[in-house]
Symmetry: C2
Subunit: 214 residues, 2 copies
Amino acid sequence: MAEEVLLFSTWPSIYGRRVEMALKLKGIEYKYIEEDLTNKSPSLLKYNPVHKKIPVLVHNGKPVAESLVILEYIDETWKNHPILPKHPYERANTRFWAKFIDEKCLPAILKACWGEDRKEREKAVEELSKLLQFLENELKGKRFFGGETIGLLDIAANMIGYWLGIFEEASGVSELLTREKFPKLFIWANEFVSKTSTGTPNLKGMLYLPRDGG
Amino acid sequence: MAEEVLLFSTWPSIYGRRVEMALKLKGIEYKYIEEDLTNKSPSLLKYNPVHKKIPVLVHNGKPVAESLVILEYIDETWKNHPILPKHPYERANTRFWAKFIDEKCLPAILKACWGEDRKEREKAVEELSKLLQFLENELKGKRFFGGETIGLLDIAANMIGYWLGIFEEASGVSELLTREKFPKLFIWANEFVSKTSTGTPNLKGMLYLPRDGG
């Protein structure tokens, strides 16, 4: 039987983009199905009845949901170009930081961008500055979080990569997130964006962090 | 070199208990270090500088934090008595439901037990009833979530196992979480508790869900 790989997503979703990146890195052919989150399809509701969220990967009829879970599934199913390290300790570190990005960094980015008022936004940027320092340290001596090649943690950090680039463009937004303060993250962000964007990326689109994805 | 396995935890923590269960299931010798969360030790702060939370497993000097990450690390490091299934699809399902328990069920249990007022608590119990229905369905045709033996998802669901037992004892608390409505979960909870508790478990203690664990 020929493999059938479907991806239910919505184009600006960073969670959906994670899955697309992994599929593309591994050269897996898939059919992309764009979801309208204001009018979810019966297929999405059938495949992800628990969260009713994108992305959902459907492999030979079997659905997998939650972007980080999907990334591990892809890595275990298609062994070429591994995105998780081999050693259990490094694998644990990768999972730890991916969770950190989802649970700590992304909420802070949300607040930094769309906080209710300037005070809340500035506080979030300050918080983010502390969080990014951890990631800056993680890049020590490495080109990507995954080492010499893009791995699961780079993919999980996609939002940070694209977002830092924008922050730099919009100079004056904050002095806390400068290239001087996070030199490794800025170099990583540039290289990550140039390696993963196809054509001219719509950076503003990438900033959209739907609460309906996961 | 002899293996050195340390576990920093605090006895009532369901997150710490998860790690203990996995270590015991696999027969791994470890040294338990009780943390006082009101006065965290320099070791805990050194080993988990990001979250400053228990549990932390330190294996030959290398720390791993976050209970679900630790469980995967243990399973990849000590191969006997696997707690994750073999097939990628089943592994993905296990990870999906473990995440569901942490992100959906545990917050609902917190609110059901310590909600500000009766209205909030009742609403949480109602929400929990919907969530538990998903887990009830997952047990279809199975003795444990892990199949014939206790696996990662059973361990992740430890709070639910102990908590359902208490709920049943405290009859009249809610008609939404009855043995009639969740027969499989109740049978599972009884068997899980009897298999995992050592001596007389302090069930009230198990209800303590510290915000300082993860």
